[in-house]
Amino acid sequence: MDERSDEAIAAAVQRGDLDSFRELVERYEPKMTRYARRFLFGADDAKDLVQDVFIKAYVNIKSFDIDRRFSPWLYRIAHNEFVNALKKRTKERGNVSISFFDFDILFPHLNAREGADSPARQHETRVILERSLNDIPPKYKEPLVLYYFEELDYKEIADILRIPISTVGVRLQRGKAMLKKKVTE
């Protein structure tokens, strides 16, 4: 039997089917936890945050347009939740506040189109990322996590972060350049 699509399950949840929502949570829990752990660097509260993401998704499920893909919609909720957690944590620790705004969202970039890395190169980048992810500012870390670990494309990442598609490419390039520098140091 064919597996139901995320969008079909979300439509069932919108009609009040709670079991379908359980199915969505089961499907996305590993992804969301992985995303939280990598983006927030193994935060102790990652599980609580992911739970909040699912509760927010349930509360707002009727705002989801079933003609669109479910996964970027859920990742968008997770992004907001994690960024807020990161800001709160930074404030509590008295650190300089983090900024997700960048002038690179203002102007067009010609050399920031989606490229196809070879599987070997992708694997190599992933290995380096696992080791050095914490050394990269969140603004660059998040697109790297979404692209290399969550395997989302530029458009989906742009939809989650609400930034231009070309900016996704720029941030990935800069993030990778930072990683390269760290590795050669």
Binding site: L18, E29, V59, K62, P108
Partner: protein, 226 residues
Amino acid sequence: MEDSVIKAIQDDKAKMRSRWFFALRSALFTLVVVILFAALLYLVSFIIFALRRSGIAFAPGFGLNGWLLFFGGLPWGLLLLSLIVILILAALINRYEFVYHHPLFYALAAFAFLVVVASFWIAATSFHDHMFRYSTENLPLIGQFYQFETQEPSDVHSGEIVAVIPGRGGQGSFVIVDAAGVTSSVMAAQGVFIANDFSVGDTVMVFGEREPNGVIDAFGVEKVTP
């Protein structure tokens, strides 16, 4: 994880919002954007109207002195307010895919172009003239605002020509009477040529310093429609 999430929902700790909630929120959002956009059009068209009315808009045509007068007379407070409204609007509409998928510069440039074109069109109508007259008579606070923002700077003098005195080499000088009945003689400042193509009855804006003896050393004259 699934169990705790489902339990929170079953315990009524999380309630699904209705479609009405999102429809209402979306309508409210659209209303805020429309109101802000209308306010922005009003503001920018008012700035254009005020610059024309005070004569500052014509000043750049008269060289460096004109440009200095222009920049000194710009309503910087209103321009800053317009910029803030533009940025707020840009931030608000950045939730739409067709906006955030492209560099923000494109959205801002398109938006600024649209606002400026629409504002010039509004400023060309009699809308602000009517508002000026109506508010002066009925809405004292807004009337004062209109009067304050449209008043002429000290180096701009408008009035009707009551006498023309032809000078040498085609150079013209004349006498004007302003709305308050004050008479001034207009003479070209040193190094400035004012063509002798004015007639009695013309309404003009004269740019230049007015001496205590009632002579204006003009560095520019603009004929305006009365």
